[in-house]
Protein backbone atom coordinates (compact mmCIF):
# COMPACT_ATOMS: atom_id res chain seq x y z
CA UNK A 1 0.00 0.00 0.00
CA UNK A 2 1.33 3.43 -0.90
CA UNK A 3 0.94 6.11 1.75
CA UNK A 4 1.60 9.81 1.19
CA UNK A 5 3.51 11.50 3.99
CA UNK A 6 3.20 15.09 2.90
CA UNK A 7 3.14 17.65 1.38
CA UNK A 8 1.50 18.83 4.59
CA UNK A 9 2.78 16.56 7.28
CA UNK A 10 4.53 17.24 10.60
CA UNK A 11 7.37 14.99 9.49
CA UNK A 12 8.28 16.87 6.35
CA UNK A 13 9.64 20.20 7.67
CA UNK A 14 8.79 21.97 4.51
CA UNK A 15 6.85 21.33 1.38
CA UNK A 16 7.69 17.90 0.04
CA UNK A 17 6.05 14.55 -0.16
CA UNK A 18 7.36 11.16 0.85
CA UNK A 19 5.46 8.32 -0.74
CA UNK A 20 5.88 5.17 1.28
CA UNK A 21 4.98 1.61 0.27
CA UNK A 22 4.20 -0.33 3.41
CA UNK A 23 3.33 -3.85 4.27
CA UNK A 24 1.80 -3.73 7.68
CA UNK A 25 4.19 -1.59 9.67
CA UNK A 26 7.27 -2.32 7.61
CA UNK A 27 8.47 0.09 4.93
CA UNK A 28 9.15 -1.69 1.66
CA UNK A 29 9.89 1.19 -0.66
CA UNK A 30 9.88 4.97 -0.62
CA UNK A 31 9.72 7.62 -3.28
CA UNK A 32 10.43 11.24 -2.39
CA UNK A 33 8.46 13.79 -4.38
CA UNK A 34 10.20 17.14 -4.57
CA UNK A 35 9.73 20.36 -6.46
CA UNK A 36 6.86 22.00 -4.61
CA UNK A 37 9.08 24.93 -3.69
CA UNK A 38 10.78 25.39 -7.04
CA UNK A 39 11.27 29.09 -7.66
CA UNK A 40 13.64 29.01 -10.59
CA UNK A 41 16.49 30.64 -8.71
CA UNK A 42 19.08 29.54 -11.24
CA UNK A 43 17.11 31.09 -14.08
CA UNK A 44 16.33 34.31 -12.21
CA UNK A 45 20.03 34.65 -11.49
CA UNK A 46 20.73 35.08 -15.17
CA UNK A 47 18.79 38.35 -15.16
CA UNK A 48 20.39 39.86 -12.11
CA UNK A 49 23.58 41.66 -11.24
CA UNK A 50 26.05 39.60 -9.29
CA UNK A 51 25.29 41.39 -6.05
CA UNK A 52 21.56 41.11 -6.52
CA UNK A 53 21.81 37.32 -6.66
CA UNK A 54 22.81 37.45 -3.00
CA UNK A 55 19.22 38.28 -2.12
CA UNK A 56 18.26 34.97 -3.74
CA UNK A 57 20.95 33.05 -1.89
CA UNK A 58 19.39 33.94 1.46
CA UNK A 59 16.17 32.44 0.25
CA UNK A 60 17.77 29.36 -1.23
CA UNK A 61 18.37 27.88 2.17
CA UNK A 62 16.49 29.85 4.74
CA UNK A 63 18.29 28.42 7.74
CA UNK A 64 21.80 28.75 6.32
CA UNK A 65 21.62 31.94 4.28
CA UNK A 66 25.15 33.13 4.99
CA UNK A 67 26.67 29.80 4.02
CA UNK A 68 24.96 29.97 0.65
CA UNK A 69 26.01 33.58 0.20
CA UNK A 70 29.55 32.44 0.87
CA UNK A 71 29.19 29.69 -1.71
CA UNK A 72 27.99 31.96 -4.47
CA UNK A 73 30.45 34.72 -3.66
CA UNK A 74 33.39 32.33 -3.92
CA UNK A 75 32.29 31.17 -7.36
CA UNK A 76 31.47 34.68 -8.56
CA UNK A 77 34.82 36.07 -7.44
CA UNK A 78 36.60 33.32 -9.29
CA UNK A 79 34.59 34.06 -12.42
CA UNK A 80 35.16 37.83 -12.15
CA UNK A 81 38.86 37.59 -11.17
CA UNK A 82 38.44 39.52 -7.94
CA UNK A 83 40.52 38.98 -4.81
CA UNK A 84 38.77 39.99 -1.60
CA UNK A 85 40.70 41.52 1.31
CA UNK A 86 41.93 39.08 3.92
CA UNK A 87 39.83 40.57 6.67
CA UNK A 88 36.64 39.99 4.74
CA UNK A 89 37.63 36.34 4.30
CA UNK A 90 37.87 35.93 8.04
CA UNK A 91 34.56 37.68 8.55
CA UNK A 92 32.96 35.34 6.04
CA UNK A 93 34.35 32.28 7.75
CA UNK A 94 33.16 33.60 11.09
CA UNK A 95 29.71 34.23 9.64
CA UNK A 96 29.61 30.78 8.04
CA UNK A 97 30.56 29.06 11.25
CA UNK A 98 28.03 31.01 13.28
CA UNK A 99 25.51 30.08 10.62
CA UNK A 100 26.46 26.44 11.03
CA UNK A 101 25.73 26.71 14.74
CA UNK A 102 22.39 28.38 14.06
CA UNK A 103 21.47 25.82 11.43
CA UNK A 104 22.37 22.85 13.61
CA UNK A 105 20.49 24.44 16.48
CA UNK A 106 17.44 24.69 14.25
CA UNK A 107 17.96 21.07 13.26
CA UNK A 108 18.23 20.07 16.89
CA UNK A 109 14.99 21.84 17.75
CA UNK A 110 13.12 20.27 14.86
CA UNK A 111 14.64 16.83 15.33
CA UNK A 112 13.82 16.45 19.00
CA UNK A 113 10.32 17.63 18.32
CA UNK A 114 10.00 14.80 15.82
CA UNK A 115 10.91 12.49 18.67
CA UNK A 116 8.13 14.03 20.72
CA UNK A 117 10.31 15.99 23.12
CA UNK A 118 9.03 19.51 23.65
CA UNK A 119 11.49 21.07 26.11
CA UNK A 120 14.65 20.61 24.02
CA UNK A 121 12.82 22.21 21.12
CA UNK A 122 12.35 25.37 23.14
CA UNK A 123 15.97 25.29 24.29
CA UNK A 124 17.25 24.99 20.77
CA UNK A 125 15.12 27.83 19.47
CA UNK A 126 16.02 30.05 22.41
CA UNK A 127 19.74 29.61 21.97
CA UNK A 128 19.55 29.97 18.21
CA UNK A 129 18.06 33.38 18.83
CA UNK A 130 21.31 34.52 20.41
CA UNK A 131 23.18 33.71 17.21
CA UNK A 132 20.52 35.53 15.22
CA UNK A 133 21.02 38.55 17.48
CA UNK A 134 24.69 38.45 16.55
CA UNK A 135 23.81 38.27 12.87
CA UNK A 136 21.52 41.21 13.27
CA UNK A 137 24.24 43.26 14.88
CA UNK A 138 26.45 43.13 11.82
CA UNK A 139 24.14 42.33 8.91
CA UNK A 140 20.90 44.05 9.91
CA UNK A 141 18.74 41.02 9.24
CA UNK A 142 17.70 38.01 11.23
CA UNK A 143 16.89 35.60 8.42
CA UNK A 144 17.76 37.27 5.12
CA UNK A 145 21.14 38.82 5.68
CA UNK A 146 22.28 40.25 2.32
CA UNK A 147 25.67 40.75 3.87
CA UNK A 148 28.36 39.42 1.59
CA UNK A 149 29.27 41.24 -1.57
CA UNK A 150 31.39 40.26 -4.51
CA UNK A 151 34.80 41.49 -3.40
CA UNK A 152 34.24 41.45 0.33
CA UNK A 153 31.41 42.07 2.74
CA UNK A 154 29.06 45.02 3.01
CA UNK A 155 30.29 46.52 6.25
CA UNK A 156 32.82 45.85 8.94
CA UNK A 157 31.87 44.31 12.26
CA UNK A 158 30.39 46.89 14.62
CA UNK A 159 32.26 48.16 17.63
CA UNK A 160 32.32 45.70 20.50
CA UNK A 161 31.09 42.84 18.39
CA UNK A 162 33.95 40.48 19.14
CA UNK A 163 33.37 40.81 22.88
CA UNK A 164 29.66 40.13 22.51
CA UNK A 165 30.33 37.22 20.22
CA UNK A 166 32.73 35.63 22.70
CA UNK A 167 30.14 35.92 25.44
CA UNK A 168 27.58 34.20 23.26
CA UNK A 169 29.99 31.42 22.35
CA UNK A 170 30.84 30.84 26.01
CA UNK A 171 27.13 30.68 26.75
CA UNK A 172 26.50 28.25 23.92
CA UNK A 173 29.28 25.85 24.91
CA UNK A 174 27.51 25.31 28.22
CA UNK A 175 24.20 24.75 26.47
CA UNK A 176 25.60 21.92 24.36
CA UNK A 177 26.23 20.00 27.58
CA UNK A 178 22.62 20.57 28.53
CA UNK A 179 21.45 19.24 25.21
CA UNK A 180 23.35 16.05 25.79
CA UNK A 181 21.87 15.78 29.27
CA UNK A 182 18.40 16.11 27.82
CA UNK A 183 18.85 13.64 24.97
CA UNK A 184 21.95 11.52 25.05
CA UNK A 185 21.76 10.68 28.73
CA UNK A 186 18.26 9.34 28.36
CA UNK A 187 17.62 5.72 27.52
CA UNK A 188 14.38 6.71 25.84
CA UNK A 189 16.37 8.68 23.26
CA UNK A 190 18.59 5.70 22.55
CA UNK A 191 15.65 3.33 22.29
CA UNK A 192 14.17 5.64 19.70
CA UNK A 193 17.27 6.41 17.66
CA UNK A 194 19.92 3.71 17.87
CA UNK A 195 20.33 1.62 14.77
CA UNK A 196 17.79 3.57 12.73
CA UNK A 197 18.37 4.72 9.18
CA UNK A 198 21.70 3.00 8.77
CA UNK A 199 23.57 4.16 5.67
CA UNK A 200 27.08 2.69 5.49
CA UNK A 201 29.86 4.83 4.08
CA UNK A 202 30.43 3.03 0.74
CA UNK A 203 26.77 3.26 -0.16
CA UNK A 204 26.59 6.87 1.03
CA UNK A 205 29.47 7.72 -1.29
CA UNK A 206 27.80 5.85 -4.13
CA UNK A 207 24.64 7.89 -3.66
CA UNK A 208 26.58 11.14 -3.32
CA UNK A 209 25.45 11.68 0.24
CA UNK A 210 27.61 14.24 2.02
CA UNK A 211 27.85 16.22 5.19
CA UNK A 212 26.99 14.92 8.65
CA UNK A 213 25.20 11.93 7.10
CA UNK A 214 28.42 10.74 5.51
CA UNK A 215 30.61 11.59 8.48
CA UNK A 216 28.33 9.70 10.83
CA UNK A 217 29.33 6.56 8.91
CA UNK A 218 32.98 6.94 9.86
CA UNK A 219 34.11 8.93 6.84
CA UNK A 220 36.43 11.89 7.37
CA UNK A 221 35.25 13.72 4.28
CA UNK A 222 35.06 17.43 5.08
CA UNK A 223 35.69 20.04 2.43
CA UNK A 224 37.07 22.44 4.97
CA UNK A 225 39.96 20.00 5.39
CA UNK A 226 40.05 18.20 2.05
CA UNK A 227 39.65 21.16 -0.27
CA UNK A 228 40.17 24.21 1.91
CA UNK A 229 38.46 27.34 0.70
CA UNK A 230 38.67 30.86 2.14
CA UNK A 231 41.03 30.73 5.12
CA UNK A 232 40.11 27.35 6.52
CA UNK A 233 43.63 26.06 5.94
CA UNK A 234 44.87 28.49 8.58
CA UNK A 235 42.43 27.43 11.27
CA UNK A 236 42.70 24.52 13.65
CA UNK A 237 39.74 22.23 14.01
CA UNK A 238 38.87 18.55 13.97
CA UNK A 239 36.49 16.76 11.67
CA UNK A 240 33.58 15.41 13.68
CA UNK A 241 32.85 11.78 12.92
CA UNK A 242 30.89 8.90 14.34
CA UNK A 243 30.92 5.23 13.46
CA UNK A 244 27.37 4.04 13.94
CA UNK A 245 25.97 5.51 10.66
CA UNK A 246 22.55 5.83 12.27
CA UNK A 247 20.38 8.57 13.72
CA UNK A 248 22.37 8.74 16.95
CA UNK A 249 25.57 9.03 14.96
CA UNK A 250 24.22 12.03 13.07
CA UNK A 251 23.22 13.61 16.36
CA UNK A 252 26.72 13.12 17.73
CA UNK A 253 28.34 14.50 14.59
CA UNK A 254 26.24 17.64 14.57
CA UNK A 255 26.78 18.28 18.26
CA UNK A 256 30.53 17.91 17.81
CA UNK A 257 30.43 20.13 14.73
CA UNK A 258 28.84 22.89 16.76
CA UNK A 259 31.66 22.65 19.27
CA UNK A 260 34.21 22.77 16.48
CA UNK A 261 32.40 25.78 15.00
CA UNK A 262 32.75 27.56 18.31
CA UNK A 263 36.45 26.75 18.21
CA UNK A 264 36.85 28.11 14.68
CA UNK A 265 34.83 31.20 15.51
CA UNK A 266 37.09 31.98 18.45
CA UNK A 267 40.18 31.76 16.27
CA UNK A 268 38.54 34.08 13.74
CA UNK A 269 37.64 36.55 16.46
CA UNK A 270 41.21 36.57 17.73
CA UNK A 271 42.50 37.26 14.24
CA UNK A 272 39.92 39.96 13.57
CA UNK A 273 40.82 41.75 16.80
CA UNK A 274 44.43 42.06 15.74
CA UNK A 275 44.05 42.87 12.05
CA UNK A 276 41.89 45.87 11.19
CA UNK A 277 41.63 46.77 7.56
CA UNK A 278 39.33 47.20 4.62
CA UNK A 279 36.56 44.69 4.06
CA UNK A 280 35.70 45.47 0.45
CA UNK A 281 38.10 45.14 -2.46
CA UNK A 282 39.32 48.47 -3.78
CA UNK A 283 39.27 47.57 -7.45
CA UNK A 284 35.83 46.47 -8.53
CA UNK A 285 33.98 46.77 -11.80
CA UNK A 286 31.61 49.69 -11.55
CA UNK A 287 28.41 47.68 -11.49
CA UNK A 288 29.67 45.73 -8.49
CA UNK A 289 30.40 48.83 -6.46
CA UNK A 290 28.15 50.55 -3.98
CA UNK A 291 25.73 52.44 -6.23
CA UNK A 292 23.91 50.08 -8.49
CA UNK A 293 23.41 52.54 -11.29
CA UNK A 294 22.40 51.34 -14.72
CA UNK A 295 25.24 50.55 -17.01
CA UNK A 296 23.64 52.77 -19.61
CA UNK A 297 24.34 52.28 -23.24
CA UNK A 298 25.51 48.95 -24.48
CA UNK A 299 28.80 50.35 -25.67
CA UNK A 300 30.00 50.69 -22.10
CA UNK A 301 30.72 47.01 -21.68
CA UNK A 302 32.30 46.80 -25.09
CA UNK A 303 34.58 49.69 -24.28
CA UNK A 304 35.64 48.25 -20.94
CA UNK A 305 36.28 44.83 -22.44
CA UNK A 306 35.91 43.12 -19.12
CA UNK A 307 37.43 39.61 -19.04
CA UNK A 308 35.23 36.56 -19.10
CA UNK A 309 35.67 33.65 -16.75
CA UNK A 310 34.32 30.55 -15.10
CA UNK A 311 33.89 30.09 -11.40
CA UNK A 312 33.34 26.95 -9.41
CA UNK A 313 33.23 26.63 -5.67
CA UNK A 314 32.35 23.95 -3.19
CA UNK A 315 31.83 24.56 0.48
CA UNK A 316 30.93 22.47 3.46
CA UNK A 317 27.48 23.80 4.09
CA UNK A 318 25.70 22.78 7.34
CA UNK A 319 23.75 20.14 5.42
CA UNK A 320 26.56 18.81 3.27
CA UNK A 321 28.65 19.75 0.29
CA UNK A 322 27.18 22.53 -1.79
CA UNK A 323 28.55 23.60 -5.12
CA UNK A 324 28.11 26.61 -7.37
CA UNK A 325 29.10 27.14 -10.97
CA UNK A 326 29.07 30.61 -12.48
CA UNK A 327 29.75 31.49 -16.09
CA UNK A 328 30.76 35.10 -16.68
CA UNK A 329 30.55 36.16 -20.31
CA UNK A 330 31.80 39.67 -19.63
CA UNK A 331 28.38 41.16 -19.07
CA UNK A 332 26.86 42.59 -15.95
CA UNK A 333 24.79 39.44 -15.40
CA UNK A 334 26.14 35.91 -15.18
CA UNK A 335 25.51 33.86 -18.28
CA UNK A 336 24.63 30.75 -16.31
CA UNK A 337 24.46 29.80 -12.65
CA UNK A 338 24.15 26.26 -11.35
CA UNK A 339 23.95 25.04 -7.79
CA UNK A 340 24.53 21.64 -6.29
CA UNK A 341 22.25 21.02 -3.37
CA UNK A 342 23.38 18.54 -0.71
CA UNK A 343 19.90 18.01 0.71
CA UNK A 344 18.49 16.85 -2.61
CA UNK A 345 20.96 13.97 -2.70
CA UNK A 346 20.56 13.19 0.98
CA UNK A 347 16.81 12.95 0.61
CA UNK A 348 16.99 10.81 -2.52
CA UNK A 349 19.13 8.29 -0.70
CA UNK A 350 16.04 7.63 1.44
CA UNK A 351 15.37 4.81 -1.00
CA UNK A 352 18.32 3.09 0.62
CA UNK A 353 18.14 3.98 4.30
CA UNK A 354 14.38 3.89 4.92
CA UNK A 355 13.18 0.44 3.74
CA UNK A 356 13.14 -2.21 6.40
CA UNK A 357 12.18 0.09 9.24
CA UNK A 358 8.76 0.85 10.61
CA UNK A 359 6.46 3.71 9.77
CA UNK A 360 6.94 5.21 13.21
CA UNK A 361 10.68 5.36 12.52
CA UNK A 362 10.28 7.76 9.59
CA UNK A 363 10.12 10.99 11.65
CA UNK A 364 13.38 10.33 13.52
CA UNK A 365 15.20 9.16 10.40
CA UNK A 366 14.07 11.98 8.14
CA UNK A 367 14.54 14.42 11.00
CA UNK A 368 18.15 13.37 11.27
CA UNK A 369 18.69 14.13 7.57
CA UNK A 370 18.06 17.84 8.22
CA UNK A 371 15.88 18.56 5.21
CA UNK A 372 15.81 22.11 3.92
CA UNK A 373 13.38 22.13 1.04
CA UNK A 374 14.19 25.64 -0.12
CA UNK A 375 17.69 24.58 -1.05
CA UNK A 376 16.54 21.21 -2.36
CA UNK A 377 14.11 22.65 -4.91
CA UNK A 378 15.78 26.05 -5.47
Amino acid sequence: MWVNMGPQHPMTHGLWNLRVRIEGEIIKDVEPELGFLHRGIEKISEDRHYNEIITLMDRTCYVAGLAWEHLFILAAEQALHITPPERSEYIRVLASELQRIASHMMWYAAFVQDLGLMSPFLYGMRDRDLVLDLFQSFTGGRLTYEYMRVGGVRNDLPLGFTGQCRRVLDWLIDRFVEYDHLCLASTIFHERCDGLGVLPAPEAVAYGVTGPMLRSAGSHRDLRKDRPYSVYDRLQFDVATATSADVTGRYLVRMEEMRQSVRISRQCLDWLDDHPGPVLAAQLPRWLGAPYAPVGNESYLLKRNYPTGLGFSMIEEPHGEAGAYVVNDGGEHPYRVKFRSPVLINVWAAKRYLPGYRVADIPPIMGSVDVCVGECDR
Binding site: S137, N155, L182, S186, G195, Y292
Partner: protein, 263 residues
Amino acid sequence: MAGTAERPPAPPAVAEEKPFLWVARPLATAAKQFVKSLWRPSTVVYPFERLEDPKFRGQVGVASGKPIGVGEIWDNYRGVHALNINTCISCNLCAFSCPDVCIEMVNVPGGDPRHPKKCPQIDYGKCSFCGFCSDACPEGCLTMTTRYELSVHKREEMVYSPARMFEIFKSKLPMNPIRLERPKNEDQILLDPPICIGCNACARDCPTQCITMLDIPKPTPKPGEKMAKRIWKEPVINDSDCVRCGTCIAVCPKDCLFWGTRQ
Protein backbone atom coordinates in the same frame (compact mmCIF):
# COMPACT_ATOMS: atom_id res chain seq x y z
CA MET B 1 18.46 -3.32 -1.71
CA ALA B 2 16.13 -4.35 1.06
CA GLY B 3 16.96 -2.40 4.16
CA THR B 4 18.60 -3.67 7.23
CA ALA B 5 15.80 -4.98 9.34
CA GLU B 6 18.21 -6.45 11.83
CA ARG B 7 19.51 -3.77 14.11
CA PRO B 8 23.14 -3.54 15.15
CA PRO B 9 23.61 -3.79 18.89
CA ALA B 10 22.84 -0.46 20.46
CA PRO B 11 25.75 1.31 22.12
CA PRO B 12 25.35 1.37 25.87
CA ALA B 13 23.47 4.45 26.97
CA VAL B 14 25.38 6.75 29.23
CA ALA B 15 23.21 6.01 32.22
CA GLU B 16 21.90 2.60 31.41
CA GLU B 17 23.66 1.18 34.41
CA LYS B 18 22.11 3.81 36.62
CA PRO B 19 18.42 4.02 35.78
CA PHE B 20 18.01 6.79 38.32
CA LEU B 21 20.30 9.11 36.36
CA TRP B 22 18.55 9.01 33.04
CA VAL B 23 15.41 10.26 34.66
CA ALA B 24 17.08 12.64 37.04
CA ARG B 25 19.55 14.34 34.73
CA PRO B 26 17.07 15.66 32.13
CA LEU B 27 14.72 16.60 34.92
CA ALA B 28 17.43 18.46 36.79
CA THR B 29 18.45 20.33 33.65
CA ALA B 30 14.89 21.33 32.92
CA ALA B 31 14.27 22.35 36.52
CA LYS B 32 17.35 24.55 36.49
CA GLN B 33 16.20 26.32 33.37
CA PHE B 34 12.71 26.70 34.76
CA VAL B 35 13.92 28.37 37.93
CA LYS B 36 16.17 30.66 35.93
CA SER B 37 13.34 31.67 33.65
CA LEU B 38 11.24 32.82 36.58
CA TRP B 39 13.16 36.07 36.94
CA ARG B 40 15.14 36.05 33.71
CA PRO B 41 12.66 35.28 30.96
CA SER B 42 14.04 34.83 27.46
CA THR B 43 10.94 36.13 25.73
CA VAL B 44 9.21 39.43 25.25
CA VAL B 45 5.45 39.76 25.75
CA TYR B 46 5.18 41.12 22.27
CA PRO B 47 2.09 43.26 21.77
CA PHE B 48 2.56 44.84 25.18
CA GLU B 49 6.35 45.08 25.11
CA ARG B 50 8.51 45.64 22.07
CA LEU B 51 12.17 45.09 21.52
CA GLU B 52 12.62 48.73 20.58
CA ASP B 53 11.24 49.92 23.92
CA PRO B 54 13.79 51.93 25.87
CA LYS B 55 13.75 49.44 28.71
CA PHE B 56 15.20 46.73 26.48
CA ARG B 57 18.15 48.88 25.54
CA GLY B 58 21.53 48.12 27.01
CA GLN B 59 21.72 46.41 30.31
CA VAL B 60 18.17 45.13 30.48
CA GLY B 61 18.85 42.90 27.51
CA VAL B 62 21.58 41.19 29.48
CA ALA B 63 19.42 40.88 32.57
CA SER B 64 16.64 39.23 30.64
CA GLY B 65 18.68 36.09 30.18
CA LYS B 66 20.29 37.09 26.95
CA PRO B 67 24.03 37.49 27.16
CA ILE B 68 24.01 40.33 24.68
CA GLY B 69 22.03 43.51 24.72
CA VAL B 70 19.09 43.44 22.40
CA GLY B 71 18.72 47.17 22.10
CA GLU B 72 22.32 47.91 21.28
CA ILE B 73 22.13 46.11 17.97
CA TRP B 74 18.65 47.04 16.94
CA ASP B 75 19.46 50.18 15.02
CA ASN B 76 20.77 48.61 11.86
CA TYR B 77 17.69 46.49 11.39
CA ARG B 78 16.32 46.69 7.90
CA GLY B 79 12.66 47.55 8.25
CA VAL B 80 10.24 49.95 6.58
CA HIS B 81 11.86 52.79 4.68
CA ALA B 82 11.87 56.40 5.71
CA LEU B 83 12.10 59.03 3.01
CA ASN B 84 13.10 62.62 3.45
CA ILE B 85 11.26 64.23 0.57
CA ASN B 86 13.01 67.55 1.06
CA THR B 87 16.48 66.23 0.29
CA CYS B 88 15.49 63.70 -2.37
CA ILE B 89 16.99 64.71 -5.70
CA SER B 90 14.94 62.33 -7.90
CA CYS B 91 18.05 60.60 -9.17
CA ASN B 92 16.29 57.26 -9.68
CA LEU B 93 19.19 55.26 -8.19
CA CYS B 94 16.97 53.50 -5.66
CA ALA B 95 14.63 52.29 -8.40
CA PHE B 96 17.55 51.12 -10.52
CA SER B 97 19.18 49.25 -7.69
CA CYS B 98 16.05 47.40 -6.59
CA PRO B 99 16.37 43.69 -7.43
CA ASP B 100 12.62 43.16 -7.13
CA VAL B 101 11.59 46.22 -9.17
CA CYS B 102 9.24 47.28 -6.40
CA ILE B 103 10.23 50.96 -6.44
CA GLU B 104 8.40 53.30 -8.75
CA MET B 105 9.25 56.96 -9.08
CA VAL B 106 6.06 58.99 -8.72
CA ASN B 107 5.42 62.69 -8.91
CA VAL B 108 5.32 64.67 -5.72
CA PRO B 109 4.38 68.32 -5.38
CA GLY B 110 7.29 70.68 -5.32
CA GLY B 111 8.90 70.34 -8.71
CA ASP B 112 8.55 72.76 -11.55
CA PRO B 113 5.92 71.85 -14.12
CA ARG B 114 8.31 70.92 -16.91
CA HIS B 115 10.47 68.66 -14.76
CA PRO B 116 8.31 67.29 -11.96
CA LYS B 117 9.95 66.12 -8.80
CA LYS B 118 9.84 62.36 -8.48
CA CYS B 119 10.24 60.34 -5.32
CA PRO B 120 10.24 56.58 -4.74
CA GLN B 121 7.03 54.74 -4.02
CA ILE B 122 7.63 51.29 -2.59
CA ASP B 123 5.40 48.25 -2.98
CA TYR B 124 5.99 46.21 0.16
CA GLY B 125 4.21 43.28 -1.37
CA LYS B 126 7.30 42.79 -3.50
CA CYS B 127 10.04 44.28 -1.33
CA SER B 128 12.67 41.88 -0.04
CA PHE B 129 14.21 44.33 2.46
CA CYS B 130 17.68 43.86 1.05
CA GLY B 131 18.68 47.48 1.68
CA PHE B 132 20.26 48.01 -1.72
CA CYS B 133 18.15 51.12 -2.30
CA SER B 134 19.34 52.83 0.86
CA ASP B 135 22.89 51.78 0.01
CA ALA B 136 22.55 53.37 -3.39
CA CYS B 137 20.93 56.61 -2.21
CA PRO B 138 23.60 59.29 -2.67
CA GLU B 139 21.92 61.83 -0.44
CA GLY B 140 21.05 59.54 2.45
CA CYS B 141 17.41 60.51 2.22
CA LEU B 142 16.08 56.96 1.75
CA THR B 143 16.96 54.96 4.83
CA MET B 144 15.62 51.89 6.54
CA THR B 145 14.11 52.17 9.99
CA THR B 146 13.45 49.72 12.78
CA ARG B 147 9.76 49.54 12.02
CA TYR B 148 8.66 46.02 11.20
CA GLU B 149 4.86 45.92 11.53
CA LEU B 150 3.41 45.74 8.04
CA SER B 151 0.07 43.99 8.24
CA VAL B 152 -2.68 45.65 6.25
CA HIS B 153 -6.28 44.92 5.33
CA LYS B 154 -6.05 45.54 1.62
CA ARG B 155 -3.37 44.80 -0.88
CA GLU B 156 -3.30 48.39 -2.08
CA GLU B 157 -2.28 49.56 1.37
CA MET B 158 1.01 47.76 0.93
CA VAL B 159 2.09 50.42 -1.54
CA TYR B 160 3.74 53.16 0.46
CA SER B 161 3.60 56.54 -1.19
CA PRO B 162 6.42 59.06 -0.70
CA ALA B 163 4.19 61.09 1.59
CA ARG B 164 3.60 58.07 3.80
CA MET B 165 7.31 57.33 4.03
CA PHE B 166 7.89 60.99 4.84
CA GLU B 167 5.54 60.53 7.80
CA ILE B 168 7.75 57.66 8.98
CA PHE B 169 10.78 59.89 8.54
CA LYS B 170 9.18 62.55 10.69
CA SER B 171 8.47 60.05 13.47
CA LYS B 172 12.24 59.93 14.05
CA LEU B 173 12.70 56.19 14.37
CA PRO B 174 16.26 54.93 14.73
CA MET B 175 17.81 54.53 11.32
CA ASN B 176 20.56 52.31 10.06
CA PRO B 177 23.79 53.94 11.26
CA ILE B 178 26.08 51.88 9.00
CA ARG B 179 26.31 53.69 5.71
CA LEU B 180 28.09 52.33 2.74
CA GLU B 181 31.03 54.28 1.38
CA ARG B 182 31.27 54.88 -2.29
CA PRO B 183 34.10 53.00 -3.95
CA LYS B 184 37.20 54.98 -4.72
CA ASN B 185 37.60 53.78 -8.27
CA GLU B 186 34.20 54.92 -9.42
CA ASP B 187 33.87 55.48 -13.11
CA GLN B 188 32.97 58.88 -14.38
CA ILE B 189 30.69 59.96 -17.14
CA LEU B 190 32.70 60.82 -20.21
CA LEU B 191 31.76 62.53 -23.43
CA ASP B 192 32.43 61.49 -26.97
CA PRO B 193 32.79 65.06 -28.39
CA PRO B 194 32.40 64.45 -32.14
CA ILE B 195 28.99 62.85 -31.68
CA CYS B 196 27.54 65.46 -29.31
CA ILE B 197 25.01 67.83 -30.83
CA GLY B 198 24.79 70.15 -27.83
CA CYS B 199 21.11 69.52 -27.28
CA ASN B 200 21.12 70.32 -23.55
CA ALA B 201 19.07 67.20 -22.65
CA CYS B 202 21.67 65.97 -20.12
CA ALA B 203 22.00 69.31 -18.38
CA ARG B 204 18.24 69.73 -18.30
CA ASP B 205 17.55 66.37 -16.63
CA CYS B 206 20.56 66.13 -14.31
CA PRO B 207 19.18 65.77 -10.78
CA THR B 208 22.14 67.51 -9.14
CA GLN B 209 22.49 70.25 -11.78
CA CYS B 210 26.16 69.36 -12.08
CA ILE B 211 26.23 69.61 -15.88
CA THR B 212 26.83 72.98 -17.47
CA MET B 213 26.73 73.60 -21.18
CA LEU B 214 29.81 75.54 -22.20
CA ASP B 215 30.32 77.21 -25.53
CA ILE B 216 32.83 75.64 -27.84
CA PRO B 217 34.42 77.50 -30.72
CA LYS B 218 32.59 77.14 -33.95
CA PRO B 219 35.01 75.94 -36.59
CA THR B 220 35.26 77.90 -39.75
CA PRO B 221 34.22 75.65 -42.60
CA LYS B 222 36.59 75.17 -45.44
CA PRO B 223 35.19 76.00 -48.81
CA GLY B 224 33.07 73.16 -50.06
CA GLU B 225 32.88 71.37 -46.68
CA LYS B 226 29.47 70.84 -45.16
CA MET B 227 29.11 72.08 -41.61
CA ALA B 228 27.60 69.77 -38.99
CA LYS B 229 24.19 70.87 -37.83
CA ARG B 230 24.48 71.32 -34.13
CA ILE B 231 24.46 73.73 -31.27
CA TRP B 232 28.02 74.73 -30.48
CA LYS B 233 27.93 73.76 -26.83
CA GLU B 234 29.26 70.81 -24.88
CA PRO B 235 28.36 69.42 -21.47
CA VAL B 236 30.98 69.72 -18.74
CA ILE B 237 30.38 67.52 -15.73
CA ASN B 238 31.39 68.54 -12.24
CA ASP B 239 32.64 65.22 -10.87
CA SER B 240 32.48 66.19 -7.22
CA ASP B 241 28.74 66.86 -7.45
CA CYS B 242 27.93 63.97 -9.77
CA VAL B 243 26.10 61.10 -8.06
CA ARG B 244 26.64 58.66 -10.94
CA CYS B 245 22.96 58.09 -11.49
CA GLY B 246 23.24 57.70 -15.26
CA THR B 247 20.25 59.90 -16.07
CA CYS B 248 22.27 61.89 -18.60
CA ILE B 249 23.31 58.68 -20.36
CA ALA B 250 19.71 57.54 -20.49
CA VAL B 251 18.36 60.78 -21.98
CA CYS B 252 21.19 61.42 -24.44
CA PRO B 253 19.66 61.12 -27.90
CA LYS B 254 22.99 60.42 -29.58
CA ASP B 255 24.52 58.00 -27.03
CA CYS B 256 27.57 60.20 -26.79
CA LEU B 257 27.91 59.94 -23.00
CA PHE B 258 29.38 56.80 -21.51
CA TRP B 259 30.98 55.43 -18.35
CA GLY B 260 34.73 55.36 -18.20
CA THR B 261 37.86 56.38 -16.40
CA ARG B 262 39.50 59.66 -17.30
CA GLN B 263 43.09 59.01 -18.28
